[in-house]
Amino acid sequence: MTIKDIQNEIIDEFSMFDDWMQRYEYMIELGKSLPLIDDQYKTDDNIIKGCQSKVWVHAEMKDDNVVFTADSDAIITKGIIAILIRVFSNQTPQAIIEADTAFIDEIGLKEHLSPTRANGLVSMIKQIKMYAIAYQTQVK
C-alpha cells in the first residue's frame, strides 16, 4: 500500500469514533499493545528528548524499503508513534520524503504534533525524513 492509502485507511478507522475519548482509548491501546522497538536500539544515540516525553527511533534498510522501529516513555505518544510507523515504515526513501502528515489533523490528533507540545513527535518526523534522505543518497 502507498503512504496515501494507509493514511486514508487510518482516517476511515478514526471516523468511526464518536468522540475524543474513544480516539484516545484506541491510541492508548495501540500504545500498550505494540512492542515497537528492540531494546538494543533504545540507546542514547537514538533518543529524541522532548521536554515532555522521550522518543527513541531506529531505522534500517530492508529490500529497498526503510523499516522504522520506535518507542516512547509516554503511552499517548507511543500510540501516535504506532500510527506514524504504520504510515512510514516499509516504504521507499523517495515515498517517505514526499509524504506529508496532514492526516494527523483529520484524525483529531493535531495538538500532539505541535512543536510547543515538546513531546518529541515533531522531531521524530524530522528524524524519519532525515533517515529517508540519508538512505536515498545511499541508494543512488
Binding site: W20, M21, Y24, Q52, K54, I75, H112
Partner: protein
C-alpha cells in the same frame, strides 16, 4: 474569608470554555490570570497616554512617566524597600537574575565560591554556571532531602570566607517548598556573602519585607501575580546596585555620552537602558494594588485550605504520590501539588485532563535536578490560586480518576 464568587467575576478568562468544558485553570505557578482591573489599566494606557517616558516635555510623556514612577513607588511600598530607586524594572525574574550575575562577573575571582540550592528553577542555575565559567569561581549546591526540603546543616558546612554569593528561591516552583530564607540570609551574611532570593513563586502568595529579611537582592515576575507578562523587578540594596556595573548600554541609562567616555545615570536608570515595558510596569503596579485589596493574609488562608482539601482528595487515588514537603498539606508549602500516579507518564495525564478542560503543568517544570533526585521524568503539577474553588478541585480529581482509568 474570601468571596471567591465575586473575585472570579474579576477574571474574564475564567468563564471561557476549553474543549467544550468550563476552563479549570490549575497552572497558576506558571502564569496567573489577569483581573479586569489590570486589563483596564492596560487598555487605558494605550487608549489615553501611550508615550515614551523620561524624555519628553509634552503632556503624554509626562503622564506616562508619572504613572510609571508611581508604579515603582507602589512596588517599593509593597516590598518595603527603603528607597524607590532600589526597585529596578526588568522583563522578569530571568532578566533580573542575569542582570545580577553579569554584574558579579567583575566582582568575582578564581577560587571564590557561590552557592545555589538543589531546588532551583533553571533560571536560577544557568546564569550562575555561566558566571562561574567566566570567572573561575566554583558553584556549590545545598542538597535537598526526600521531603523536598533543603538540608540546612549541609548549607552551614558549605559556607566559608570564600563564599561570595548565595542564590536560593523563596519558594520552589516544582514542589511548593517554602525555604527558610531568613536563616539562609543570616548565615550567608555571617561569612560576608551577598544573597539573591528568587521570589518568582513566593510573591503570588506572600508579601516579602526586604528590609526585615535584610536580603541583598530579591527578584520577581509580574505575570505570576496577576500582572502582565514581560515585566518584573530586581530589588537590590542601594550599596549593591552601586557596586554592580550596568548590564546593558543604551539610551536612558546614561548621564553624559561622548565618544571618549560615557558617565552612567544614577539608580535606577543605570540598569534601565532603552525604552522599558512602560505599560507593563504600570499594570504591575495595578496588579499589586489588586492583590493587596484582596489581602495577602486572606489569600494565604484560603489557599492553605484549598491545598489541604486537594491534598486529601488526591491521596485517595490509589498509587498517587505527592512530591515535596508534608503531603498532608502543612504550612510549610504553598498551594502547589506535584505528583505522579503509579508509573503513568505525566504527559499522558496532562493530555487527557486537558481534554476535560483542565490546565495543569506536566514535565520537569524547568527544575531537572529535582526530577533527577527523585529519578522521575517529571510530575503533574496542579497549582492553585485564590480564585480557584473547592468545586474545581472536585472536578479535577474526577477528571484525574478518569485519566487513570483510561491509562491503566
Amino acid at each position: 474569608m474570601l468571596d471567591v464568587t465575586a473575585i472570579r467575576k474579576d477574571f474574564p478568562i475564567l468563564s471561557r470554555k476549553v474543549n467544550g468544558k468550563p476552563l479549570i485553570y490549575l497552572d497558576n505557578a506558571a502564569t496567573s490570570q489577569t483581573p479586569q482591573q489590570v486589563i483596564d489599566v492596560i487598555v487605558d494606557y494605550y487608549s489615553n497616554y501611550n508615550a515614551n517616558i523620561h524624555r519628553g516635555v509634552h503632556t503624554l510623556s509626562q503622564e506616562a512617566t508619572d504613572k510609571y514612577e508611581a508604579a515603582r513607588h507602589t512596588i517599593q511600598k509593597h516590598f518595603n524597600a527603603e528607597k524607590a530607586h532600589e526597585i529596578i524594572f526588568t522583563s522578569g525574574t530571568t532578566h533580573s537574575i542575569n542582570l545580577v550575575s553579569n554584574g558579579f562577573a567583575s566582582l568575582l575571582k578564581k577560587d571564590d565560591e557561590v552557592i545555589v540550592s538543589a531546588l532551583e528553577h533553571h533560571s536560577n542555575i544557568v546564569p550562575w554556571q555561566m558566571l562561574c565559567e567566566k570567572t573561575g569561581a566554583t558553584l556549590k549546591v545545598i542538597p535537598m532531602n526526600e521531603e523536598g526540603e533543603l538540608v540546612m546543616s549541609d548549607y552551614s558546612a558549605l559556607l566559608s570566607n570564600k563564599t561570595k554569593l548565595v542564590f536560593v528561591n523563596h519558594i520552589s516552583n516544582a514542589l511548593g517548598t517554602i525555604n527558610p530564607i531568613k536563616d539562609i540570609i543570616e548565615k550567608a551574611h555571617n561569612v560576608g556573602a551577598a544573597v539573591l532570593i528568587d521570589g518568582a513563586q513566593a510573591c503570588p502568595h506572600v508579601k516579602p519585607d526586604v528590609q526585615k529579611l535584610d536580603v541583598d537582592f530579591y527578584v520577581a515576575s509580574a505575570h505570576k501575580m496577576c500582572g502582565p507578562t514581560g515585566v518584573g523587578i530586581l530589588y537590590g540594596k542601594e550599596e549593591w546596585l552601586n557596586k554592580l556595573p550596568p548590564y546593558q548600554g543604551g539610551g536612558e541609562m546614561i548621564a553624559e555620552v561622548t565618544f571618549e567616555k560615557t558617565t552612567y545615570a544614577d539608580l535606577p536608570h543605570k540598569f534601565e537602558a532603552g525604552t522599558p515595558n512602560i505599560c507593563g510596569g504600570i499594570a504591575f503596579g495595578a496588579a499589586i494594588d489588586y492583590m493587596n485589596t484582596i489581602g495577602f493574609n486572606n489569600i494565604a488562608a484560603y489557599e492553605n485550605e484549598l491545598l489541604a482539601y486537594a491534598t486529601k482528595k488526591l491521596l485517595e487515588i490509589e498509587g498517587l504520590r505527592i512530591y515535596g514537603p508534608d503531603a498532608s498539606g502543612s504550612k510549610n508549602k504553598t498551594s502547589v501539588i506535584s505528583f505522579n500516579v503509579g508509573a503513568i507518564h505525566p504527559y499522558d495525564i496532562g493530555s487527557i485532563v486537558d481534554k476535560l478542560g483542565i490546565a495543569v503543568r506536566t514535565g520537569h517544570h524547568c527544575a531537572q535536578p529535582i526530577m533527577d533526585f527523585y529519578n522521575i521524568p517529571g510530575t503533574v503539577r496542579a497549582s492553585f490560586a485564590f480564585y480557584n474553588t473547592f468545586e474545581e478541585v472536585d472536578t479535577f480529581v474526577d477528571a484525574l480518576k478518569k485519566a487513570v482509568q483510561m491509562l491503566s
